[in-house]
């Protein structure tokens, strides 16, 4: 497929691999470079997965820590970004399980938002281009999408976050989730179907 032949990420990938090589020799500064470079991307993956800003920060932090511990095992079969995203998703899954147990213990329904998310929303930098009414409208639409993503099963949420939000290629998603490409496609189809239905229902209820 065309996207494989001319990998636009190739130079970045090679640069990362050099940095990783330095990390493996115990160079913490080199690892710092990688953290600086990928913190935002990883935080956003985590945020879309767990749906809460604070939790996402913790997940990202944990993920970087375990990446550092495991950096000797990273041989560069995939890009650092892909490998790192896999770690973030693992951490996010664990965190979601914890949240589930916690909310069961506290007797809350899982369909409710885990947090009111107002705090996390306020973390979003407001875009200066829109007027107040437009901002409100946009926020409503965004809230709807966010809630719908959050209501999906984690396995559907993952493919949607990776493909439609982070725009990873099918091949990269296959490497991250360690599932066959056919499964990536079918799962993505199911995820988009469910999301479509839920957004429709959401719009109807307004």
């Amino acid at each position: 497929m065309s996207h494989n032949i001319d990998d636009p990420n190739r130079p970045a990938r090679e640069a990362d691999f050099e940095i990783v090589a330095r990390c493996r020799k115990g160079n913490i500064e080199a690892f710092g470079t990688l953290v600086e470079k990928y913190q935002k991307k990883m935080l956003n993956v985590a945020y879309r997965m767990v749906g809460d800003y604070q939790e996402a920060c913790e997940v990202t932090q944990e993920a970087f820590l375990s990446a550092y511990r495991a950096i000797k095992k990273f041989r560069g079969e995939a890009s650092f970004s892909t490998w790192m995203t896999g770690i973030v998703l693992n951490q996010a899954r664990n965190r979601l399980k914890q949240i589930k147990t916690r909310s069961q213990y506290e007797g809350r329904s899982l369909n409710e938002p885990v947090e009111t998310a107002e705090g996390s929303v306020s973390q979003d930098p407001p875009s200066g281009e829109l007027n107040a009414a437009e901002q409100m409208e946009k926020k409503d639409a965004e809230t709807a999408v966010r809630d719908c993503i959050r209501s999906l099963d984690p396995e559907f949420r993952e493919v949607l976050v990776l493909r439609d939000i982070q725009e990873y290629s099918y091949e990269e998603i296959r490497d991250i989730l360690k599932i066959p490409e056919g499964t990536v496609k079918s799962r993505l189809f199911r995820a988009r179907e469910i999301l479509k239905e839920r957004l429709k229902r959401h719009a109807g209820s307004l």
Binding site: I28, Q61, L65, S120, S127, F189, L199
Partner: protein, 307 residues
């Protein structure tokens, strides 16, 4: 011609531009004639845009630094652990020290608990063997296993009996306690059963190890001598004098009712002399019964009663 279901199943790949040219051509052919598939495609595209346009969150200030600080902290901790476990390039220090400590402790515990175990063993043998107080007149003396300090004041009256000796040398004494015949028969029966029990217990309880033998010597042979005298006090003095002459030790006196009891430890080879010297007070049959040859030290119990 593909059906709408099949078309829509391929739509995610179509939207992403990830389908094969052939699939793409089929969908392109189908769409103009099918409003529902066109609508579905539109929805997919819209939703994808909505997802893509979701605003990204920014990391909190100092996020990267915080992560690095944690990494550094862990690195230092890891270094410390490495120093603890690998200074000799052999992973022994902590494990080896722990093993030695446990071994030393185990030996210590075993040592401190050993004498206590021996005492407990002794009690198990002697205590149930004690005859019920003074009701049983006929009793042999056995040196109690309890240290002297722990001995109760009336220990003499609670002496345990040595079964194997019993048959040979314990004369039955009923003269001074003129109980009815029935009662004495009962006493005899009780004693017989007690003796049986004791014998059983001795065979059941394993022989104590040699080490214990040193700390708690086997009880010596016990011999009871019934004496008859008109003047009990005078007889007692004579007995004591004779005992001293014959090298007896631990001479003790006590009285039960009208009888005076003198107990002492004496070398067994002097037993014959003792019997001779006390012959005026001892009945012939008692003398014969008591003069069994024994070894080592014997425990004497001389009971002086009025004629």
């Amino acid at each position: 011609m593909m059906e709408c279901g099949q078309i829509q199943k391929r739509m995610p790949a179509y939207v992403d531009g990830m389908d094969s040219p052939e699939e793409r051509r089929l969908i392109d052919q189908h769409l103009p004639s099918c409003p529902s598939c066109r609508k579905a495609l539109e929805e997919y595209q819209n939703n994808r845009e909505r997802l893509r346009n979701l605003k990204e969150v920014e990391p909190p200030p100092g996020f990267a630094q915080r992560i690095l600080a944690q990494v550094e902290e862990e690195e230092e901790k890891g270094g410390l652990l490495k120093k603890l476990f690998y200074p000799l390039h052999v992973k022994i220090p902590i494990q080896a020290i722990a093993t030695i400590v446990i071994a030393v402790l185990a030996i210590q515990v075993y040592r401190t608990s050993e004498p206590q175990k021996a005492v407990v063993q002794r009690y198990e043998v002697t205590i149930p063997a004690a005859p019920p107080k003074e009701e049983i007149r006929k009793e042999d003396r056995q040196e109690a296993a309890i240290p002297p300090a722990a001995k109760p004041p009336q220990a003499d009256t609670l002496r345990a009996e040595e079964p194997k000796k019993k048959a040979a040398s314990s004369p039955i004494q009923e003269k001074t306690s003129p109980a009815p015949a029935a009662a004495s028969r009962e006493t005899e029966r009780a004693e017989a059963s007690l003796a049986q029990k004791r014998a059983k217990m001795q065979t059941e309880s394993p022989a104590p190890p040699q080490k214990l033998e040193a700390a708690f010597p086997r009880p010596a042979e016990t011999i009871t001598l019934p004496l008859k005298a008109n003047d009990i006090a005078a007889a007692e003095r004579t007995v004591e004098a004779v005992l001293r002459n014959l090298g007896a030790e631990k001479i003790e006196r006590s009285s039960i009712g009208k009888a005076e009891i003198v107990t002492a430890d004496m070398p067994s080879q002097n037993l014959k002399d003792l019997l001779e010297k006390l012959s005026p007070f001892i009945e012939a049959k008692e003398r014969d019964r008591a003069s069994q040859p024994t070894e080592g030290t014997i425990l004497l119990r001389i009971e002086i009663r009025p004629k």
